[in-house]
């Protein structure tokens, strides 16, 4: 029942660590079209390990497209050629026998390469830690149904909250801007009644840290939306802009 295997040439970015220079190394692989892209790399790694060579380092965890750990740039496209999936959901049946695939890490000054295809995305967490939360302590909160929220609003908030923090938006953006990521979190809370009290302080704090980390500025090419595995909309970026401008008008002396 096994379908015919594909013969592929992989050109994979190998880099010992963040201080050393990297280069592309060629690998020939044979893979079942039913396998996933990462399973192909697993097989390649097993063959390398048998030869005593170090495995190609790449990150992945859930392999269901929700944890946001994986992320490769395949032939210039973050998460590969298909829309709305993470790298782990990419299956080899989407490629043709004889294809050459260039596999690169996510590139951004704010995402330094750790090893091979692994990058450091801790900047995202720093932005969230600056204010990506609603300040409530455990306990002492009102009943869940105390504040009705219109279905459309809750649904829009959910659309924004679906972000998996993979970093494909930064990888896709020609400016390596993190606006889509930041706007998704800002929007989720800006839409919900629970997020209102800190709405404008939050956006100021998060944008400040985003800027400090060396992400680029958004120039509205919308490549981020096209490559986002969860299809997060750039309307969130518009909301972020709006809230940021409002924050600057409203907030008098906010220590950020």
């Amino acid at each position: 029942m096994e379908a015919k295997k594909l013969n592929l040439t992989l050109k994979i970015w190998r880099q010992k660590n963040s201080n050393s220079a990297g280069s592309f190394i060629d690998y020939k692989v044979q893979v079942s079209p039913d396998a996933s892209f990462l399973e192909m790399l697993d097989e390649l790694n097993n063959s390398l390990e048998l030869k005593g060579e170090e495995a190609v380092h790449f990150e992945s965890d859930c392999r269901e497209g929700i944890c946001g750990t994986c992320g490769l740039v395949i032939n210039g496209r973050p998460h590969g050629p298909l829309a709305k999936i993470a790298t782990c959901q990419l299956h080899m049946r989407n490629f043709k026998d004889g294809d050459t695939l260039w596999v690169e890490p996510f590139r951004a000054k704010a995402f330094s390469v750790i090893k091979d295809l692994m990058v450091d995305r801790s900047g995202f967490d720093k932005i969230l830690q600056a204010g990506g939360y609603i300040s409530v302590n455990t306990g002492g909160v009102p009943d869940a149904n105390a504040i009705p929220i219109p279905k459309e609003i809750s649904s829009l908030a959910m659309d924004a909250a679906a972000c998996i923090g993979c970093g494909a938006c930064v990888a896709a953006c020609k400016n390596a801007s993190a606006m889509l990521f930041v706007s998704a979190k800002v929007s989720q809370y800006a839409l919900l009644p629970q997020g209102q009290p800190e709405r404008y302080q939050r956006v100021e704090k998060m944008v400040k840290v985003m800027d400090e980390l060396g992400f680029g500025s958004c120039t509205n090419t919308y490549a981020c939306e096209a490559e986002c595995p969860k299809g997060i909309s750039v309307t969130n970026i518009a909301r972020l802009n709006r809230d940021f401008i409002m924050a600057k008008i409203k907030n008098k002396e906010v220590e950020v």
Binding site: G76, R107, A108, K174, D211, T221, Y222, A223, A238
Partner: protein, 225 residues
């Protein structure tokens, strides 16, 4: 640093600066085009129009200063953004996949902007300078502005340059128009496609409008040179 300069130096502040100055220039272009349409109605109409502007000279000077400021801020800020954004990428990708995820004109704002800038310099050098400051042919002194236009639009390479610049201006405006709305935060799923359409119509209109003048003059007055 005051909170206002801090704001302008933030990533969103810089975007906003581009959008505000850009929007001002969008409006300027409409007025500029409307005025220049008089070119199609012959020497008298055009010279009359330029002459009429002379009457409100002080006002025009004020507008010119604002316009200059808008251009300078738009260009300077755009250059700054371009440099910073290049730096934010660090190492470039071996394979560029951007044609699959974004529009060409949105990715080439710096290039189209740079060429428009070069055009702008030559445009000011030819028309603005000669109309307002010094015209070696002496035509401006006798209010024969129309003849200056005829002269330049009779030079084939100048016309070609002009037309290319206007095509790129169209590209630039097409992205710039909707981009300004996005930056101001006016992006709504329902209305944004309409804004994008209006932006595209505006851009095409401006590009054709401004490009039609050198072409028209080259073919209808070109023989005079």
């Amino acid at each position: 640093m005051s909170s206002f300069t801090k704001f302008l130096n933030s990533s969103i502040g810089k975007k906003l600066m581009m959008a505000v100055t850009g929007s001002f220039l969008l409006i300027f272009l409409i007025i500029h085009l409307i005025g220049n349409i008089t070119l199609f109605f012959g020497a008298e109409a055009f010279n009359g129009y330029v002459g009429a502007l002379d009457v409100v000279k002080p006002l025009i000077r004020v507008v010119e200063v604002v316009l200059l400021a808008a251009f300078v801020l738009h260009i300077f800020n755009g250059l700054k953004l371009w440099i910073e954004n290049k730096r934010a990428r660090g190492v470039n990708y071996k394979v560029n996949g951007s044609p699959e995820n974004s529009a060409l004109y949105s990715r080439t704002m710096f290039l189209s902007g740079s060429i428009i800038f070069i055009f702008l310099v030559s445009h000011l050098g030819t028309f603005f300078w000669r109309f307002n400051v010094y015209d070696p042919m002496g035509l401006a002194n006798i209010h024969q502005y129309f003849d200056i236009v005829v002269y330049f639009f009779g030079i084939w390479w100048y016309v070609i340059l002009y037309v290319i610049a206007m095509v790129l201006l169209g590209f630039h405006l097409n992205h710039g128009f909707q981009s300004a709305f996005q930056t101001f935060g006016w992006n709504h799923k329902k209305y944004f496609p309409l804004i994008q359409k209006i932006g595209a119509i505006y851009a095409v209109f401006m590009a054709i409008g401004f490009a039609s003048m050198p072409i028209y003059f080259f073919f209808f007055y070109g023989g005079n040179q």
